[in-house]
Amino acid sequence: MAVNTDYLLHLADNALILGQRNAEWCGHAPILEEDLAISNISLDLIGQARMLYQHVAVLRKDGRSSEDLLAYFRDVPDFRNYTLLELPHSTALAPTASGERDYAVTVARNYLYSALMVLVWETLQNCKDAQLAAIAAKSLKEAHYHLRYSRDWVVRFGDGTEESHQRIAAAMAFLMPYTQEFWDHSSMEKNAAAEGVGVEPASLRANWEAEVAATLMLATLPAVSSQGFVSQGKHGVHSEHLGYVLAEMQSLARAHPEAVW
């Protein structure tokens, strides 16, 4: 079987970058319960990324791949995560990216991604790559919890106060165009799907849209257009934000290569 590590790296990078972004709330979340929750989700995502990177390292058999090398010693164009996942948490209502973190943006992003990943892992748990199928079966259980958590908060914000409604509506309007990237054609996904070791997200689109529409309605939020620029993160063309994420995440490993503790 031809080894398609590009697709595995795409899945791993998604989990790692969102895990890293969510971890920015650790010690800073609005209340203690949310601090624990978002840190737990972060831990699940980084755990998923580790399993996927380890799988890539085993498949490549080149002696030059390891989970640490893949996470810490690749640069922005090497990463294949969705642009959606690297954006800052700054409020969608702020004029600049250096605005304050907004939990509504965090919740909306986790919701849009988890709603997709429940469908992706469901499909991949039956794929031909036994190790990927095992990772998918574990990750699916976690994705269900992430979806439930983020969906609850989308509904509570939307159906809450005037301010929470305004914030989650703005977050959805800001993030929704980035979801077009899910459905954008990529040979990396197409090849993996053709080999039975991947899935083309476009085949999951109707189910994803139905889930999102039902939640927006429950949250008393208006339907949101996804029209606009189609981001290209999964092709390796990223926003300016990923460089800052990597700089923070990779600096320790690069300053002290092979450090252990």
Binding site: E33, I46, I135, K138, Y149, R156
Partner: protein
């Protein structure tokens, strides 16, 4: 025993092994290895310890992770190796992902120990899936909740969820509305 038959067992087969079996001693030694975050239950009772077998390079102990990011996995590996090394047995720990660990594998005796320790044991995953799509807010009255989690302190069913995520990846945070004590609930997984 082949790896396949060992992995299909819900918990370790120590009860099924005759005490003369060479692996009986290994299982017996591993009884002392507890979950690092829940010291009242053993890895076997948690369903984490899956198999003991002779591999190509000597004795192998197979464990399976609970949550993907569980930070206690490294500690568990070390604890298994150390428990056996203390008895002069060298073993390698193999981490196997499939079949994915389920909270349904936690043994009945471990569920009682969890409850006595102050952690509500998990409901079956089948129950949990039925309620997975229900939007369940902490402020909701317990009668609206699809799954009732009895308080481990006073056994009251009048409890409410404070947060989906608790002190570790595997737990949610609940509160009893009768005895007013907060408690951890081991989430169905």
């Amino acid at each position: 025993m082949t790896a396949d038959t060992a992995l299909s067992l819900p918990v370790g087969p120590i009860e099924a092994l005759p005490s003369t079996d060479p692996q009986y001693a290994v299982w017996a030694l591993l009884e002392s290895v507890t979950d690092p975050e829940i010291p009242v239950v053993s890895l076997r009772e948690m369903g984490i310890l899956r198999a003991v077998r002779e591999g190509a390079h000597g004795l192998e102990v197979v464990i399976t992770p609970t949550y993907s990011g569980c930070p206690a996995m490294g500690q568990m590996e070390d604890d298994v190796v150390n428990a056996l090394a203390g008895a002069g047995i060298a073993a390698r720990v193999i981490t196997q992902l499939a079949p994915a660990w389920s909270s349904d594998w936690i043994s009945p005796e471990a569920r009682n120990k969890l409850r006595a320790y102050g952690i509500a044991p998990p409901q079956s995953t089948a129950c949990a899936h039925a309620s997975a799509s229900v939007v369940q807010f902490a402020a909701r009255r317990p009668s609206d909740a699809a799954v009732i989690v009895p308080c481990p302190q006073c056994a009251s069913g009048n409890t409410t969820e404070i947060s989906h995520f608790g002190s570790t990846a595997c737990k949610a945070l609940y509160r009893c509305l009768d005895c007013r004590e907060p408690f951890d609930y081991f989430k169905p997984y």
